[in-house]
């Protein structure tokens, strides 16, 4: 099977072709090793970084932005969103503070400082 992909690793957006033979994926069209790895991941275990917000309970109308520390399986995006939505935090928050532990093998961390 052949799949045409657009690399999402960097803004260049290379057009990739992945030829899938059983467990083997042969990639062409990439201009860097990250692109090759992206195509292999996309055909075997597609992953995405999820970014969202968490409410800061002790500050009026304040949200802290957050992300998954590492990419999570693509089909778990909405499960991760449900976990993030049910989370709250108290200020002060620093960048890198863990907001949710153990989310599909990674963690959700703060990406903004709230004093």
């Amino acid at each position: 099977m052949t799949r045409n992909l657009t690399c999402i690793i960097c803004p260049r957006g290379c057009s990739l072709v992945a030829e899938i033979n059983g467990n083997e994926v042969k990639v062409t069209g990439h201009t860097c090793p990250k692109g090759e790895q992206y195509a292999i991941d996309e055909c075997t275990n597609p992953v995405r970084t999820v970014t969202s917000i968490v409410r800061v309970t002790n500050r009026e109308d304040t949200m802290v932005s957050c992300k998954t520390e590492n990419p999570i399986p693509k089909d778990k995006i909405f499960d991760v969103m449900a976990i993030i939505r049910s989370t709250t935090v108290e200020a002060p928050v620093s960048i890198g503070d863990v907001l949710c532990d153990d989310v599909f093998g990674t963690r959700v961390i703060a990406t903004k400082e709230i004093k």
């Binding site: 969202s52 992300k67 400082e113």
Partner: protein, 415 residues
């Protein structure tokens, strides 16, 4: 009247990087004026990732990217006036601003314009119909969702396929909304291809090209929109009209550099970029006034904003040190297939290489760019594809630049 060496108007990514560069080049009395309560600009609401790959070699979210630069500003002790709105700028570099303490008048030796841009609004589009609640510019919706925690709507149509619109399509999906469609009046998207893949295709959101919103329906709250395909004249085709029920319409239909102060100071503006005309140091036609970032040209990537701001910061510092002599300048010109070239003038006597930034006029496949002055070829560059949504950069080595005898033209040929 207060005196400062360099006054930077705007504390977004451009203002921060310009301040750091000017300070590091030896001008310690550099200050930033920003109307918000903290620096960081639009990055503070861009919570998605993808920033910093070029500039910092790692992938960050917007707030994280802003924090890297804000920390450097504060580490250097660069003075920041927050909640300070600049209301006037004169050609002799008097900056007038207002804040809680009253009216501030600053005599600057050099000024760096870094005011960024704002979004085109519904009023600029003349869409027929009523004026219900539920119509937002994509960036306004982004701020409401990401900074203030509001859910702006449940059923969404997005007009315009610029990057902010695409990013918001995904963001609204994350928050449980159904994005019915993204409509783009042009036959191609204005956003980065990667954003079409990771923001639309991942969530099965349809992108309709050569399609616009023809009518808006609803009295109190938006109830739906009529979309239609457009002809080559970009006007809706009656037979293709169809109704989509929705409670929210997001507009991502272009950005306008915020150049009111630039015009007040009498600085000439490029009618294509809508930013000031500048030389390779990002100096405007008024010596000592510089411009960088989205107020100069709308960028795709913040990494390139930071690069451009460093050029302006170093330029302003060199100006104050008397190192910017007016040298033999030649103008640059957009040739076949190129919409604009920036900077609009360069010094042929520059001892440093110069990068030209440009956008193509239409989507192309494989192309070769040629930079020529008279019969001299100064540089060539081949790209596998070139699209209007992605800015191109072509470097001219200093020794080639010295060969420029007159106007420098950049044109492309399809391969």
């Amino acid at each position: 009247m207060i005196n400062h060496d360099i006054v930077i108007i705007g504390g977004g990514p451009a203002g921060m990087a310009a301040a750091i560069a000017a300070y590091d080049a030896g001008i310690k009395d550099t200050v930033i004026l920003d109307r918000e309560d903290s620096i960081g600009g639009i990055l503070r609401q861009c919570i998605h990732n993808g920033f910093g790959l070029h500039k910092l070699g790692r992938e960050l979210t917007g707030p994280e990217y802003a924090d890297v630069f804000a920390k450097q500003v504060y580490e250097r002790g660069i003075k920041v006036y927050t909640e300070t709105m600049v209301t006037d700028l004169t050609a002799d570099k008097v900056v007038t601003a207002t804040n809680r303490e009253g009216i501030l008048k600053i005599q600057a030796k050099a000024v760096i314009l870094a005011m960024g841009c704002r979004e085109r609004s519904r009023g600029a589009l003349n869409i027929c119909g009523s004026r219900p609640a539920g119509i937002f510019s994509a960036g306004t919706a982004q701020k409401l969702v990401n900074c203030e925690g509001y859910a702006v709507g449940k059923r969404v149509v997005i007009l315009g396929s610029g990057d902010i619109g695409l990013i918001m399509a995904r963001r609204m999906s994350f928050e449980g909304a159904k994005v019915e469609a993204v409509c783009e009046i042009m036959p191609y998207s204005g956003g980065l291809t990667r954003n079409i893949v990771q923001c639309l295709e991942d969530y099965n959101i349809p992108l309709y090209l050569s399609t616009t919103v023809a009518e808006i329906h609803g009295k109190q709250r938006l109830e739906g929109v009529t979309i239609a395909q457009v002809g080559p004249d970009r006007r809706p085709i009656e037979e293709t009209k169809r109704y989509i029920p929705c409670d929210t319409l997001l507009l991502s239909v272009g950005l306008i550099p915020e150049n009111e102060l630039t015009r007040t100071a009498g600085i000439p503006i490029d009618p294509v970029t809508n930013g000031a005309l500048v030389d390779e140091n990002r100096q405007t036609a008024i010596p000592g006034i510089f411009a960088c970032g989205n107020v100069l040209q709308v960028h795709d990537l913040v990494d390139y904003v930071s690069d451009e701001a460093e050029i302006a910061g170093n330029g302003a510092a060199a100006y104050l040190k008397g190192e910017l002599d007016k040298k033999a300048t030649v103008s640059t010109k957009a040739g076949y297939g190129v919409r604009y070239v920036l900077p609009q003038t360069v010094s042929a006597l520059s001892d440093k290489p110069v990068s030209l930034f440009l956008r193509v006029a239409n989507p192309y496949g494989k192309v070769r760019f040629t930079v020529k002055s008279g019969d001299q070829v100064l540089a060539t560059a081949v790209r596998l594809k070139a699209v209007p949504g992605e800015m191109e950069k072509i470097n001219i080595p200093a020794e080639k630049l010295a060969l420029a005898s007159g106007e420098i033209t950049v044109s492309l040929e399809e391969l």
